[in-house]
Amino acid sequence: MTPILEQHIVELIKQNDQRGMSLLYEHYGPALYGCALKLTKDKDASNDILQDALLKIWNNNSSYNPKKAKFFTWCYGITRNTTIDYLRKVQKKQSKEIQIKDRDVYPIEDTLNQDDKESLKRQINTLDTKYISVLDSVFYKGMTHMEAADYLDIPLGTFKTRMRAALSELRAINKGITVLLWFLMTS
């Protein structure tokens, strides 16, 4: 998203303008919903989490500081923490200790159907699975490099090498998307 559009959304939300919510949903909704789905693997729960998170963003907009983070980063943090809170509640309810270290994600029942999984796979099929696992461990599961290396059962050095390569792949995909957009816009 361009900084101008991002700024426009932030201004609309600050003015309690309903269009702010509409633009927020259109531009960030799918990525934030993807975050909730990735962590919960539960569509119904993710529907509630997305609603909660977007309302938190709307109601707490005065605490957003553009000097500290980009707007998407701030929205992502709120959504991820809302998801983690949900998972903790479920975990507490079920009393299942499937905890990774003392601060992380608790896998629960996978309710995504095959179509959903295929759709997810198509979107990220340009990335090698070993890169997806290192990116997931950092961007979604919030592990330190040491914890992630331990979790993935690979040496720390290998993890760091894979992380660098994964980020490099990500940048290459970004360039590809930019070129594709440019081609579509000019054709």
């Binding site: 361009t2 426009h8 949903y25 919903y33 993807g34 991820r80 961007f139 919030g142 990500l170 970004n174």
Partner: protein, 265 residues
């Protein structure tokens, strides 16, 4: 300085910044990370890059949520409607009937007026939305064109590239000059500019027949256009440390980087 660089490297390797970017750090850790970002441009740069990578990766994993969620959200953020007015009793049925007739007539008029106002408001809102989108598109389009022009210039076969390197107190200085003689264009991109003491700036000079001619004062990371006419006659490019805002004459004793040009036939 080496110890400081090692400290920065250890911090970047620790994974704390990765956890900060996804909002997974404690208040104490937040303070530590924010201090590192404020004090070290390398950390700031790594943080910005991580934010872009997070945005990209989250979008690769994006899934369209059900449409009803949007409707529910928009209903929840709608302003509350005002309560309808209440009317008191009248003394006799004639006045009640008259009031009802008047009320019905007024309601009818009010309804039509409200419908009309609502439609007008919708037209205004739709027009504003359209204008905003049009403005965003134009801005994006012009930014894209500027970037395409810059990229085309940098990648052109006859554009020469000069990488100027230097070190200021162990911190790297990287300035890249692009010069396209046939097109008569030249510009510089500044990749790294170590901080200087207060009251000092870097200044870029061209050596023309032994005389240093000022090309630009370098005090931020923005790309700059420089004179191709001067470069045409120059034998080399030099960067010196000067007083803030630049000097008329180069302080050669403060030279931090120099590169010969292959423009002289």
């Amino acid at each position: 300085m080496k110890i400081e660089n090692q400290h920065i490297e250890e911090f970047l390797q620790s994974g704390l910044l990765d956890r900060y970017v996804i909002g997974d750090t404690s208040d104490g850790e937040n303070i530590e990370v924010e201090n590192m970002i404020a004090q070290h441009p390398e950390v700031q740069s790594a943080y910005n890059q991580l934010q872009d990578e997070l945005y990209l990766y989250a979008n690769l994993n994006a899934v369209t949520p059900p449409e009803y969620i949007k409707e529910q959200l928009l209903n929840k953020v709608l302003p509350l409607k005002e309560d309808e007015s209440h009317y008191g009793n009248h003394e006799n049925w004639l006045s009640i009937a008259a009031a009802i007739v008047a009320l019905l007539a007024l309601s009818g008029l009010g309804y039509l007026y409200q419908q009309n106002s609502g439609l007008k408001q919708e037209i205004v809102e739709t027009t504003t939305q359209f204008e905003n989108l049009e403005r965003d598109y134009e801005l994006n389009d012009s930014q894209k064109r500027i970037l395409e022009l810059r990229l085309a210039f940098i990648e052109a076969g006859d554009t020469e590239k000069y990488l100027m390197r230097g070190y200021i107190k162990d911190e790297p200085l990287r300035v890249i000059a692009y010069y396209n003689q046939p097109a008569g264009k030249a510009q510089i991109e500044i990749a790294a500019l170590p901080p200087l003491e207060a009251g000092q700036d870097y200044q870029l000079w061209a050596d023309v027949d032994g005389e240093m001619v000022s090309l630009a004062v370098l005090n931020d990371l923005k790309p700059k256009t420089i004179s191709a006419e001067i470069l045409k006659k120059a034998s080399d490019l030099n960067i010196t440390i000067e007083k803030a805002g630049g000097s008329k004459q180069a302080s050669v004793e403060n030279l931090v980087s120099s590169i010969p040009l292959n423009t002289i036939p």
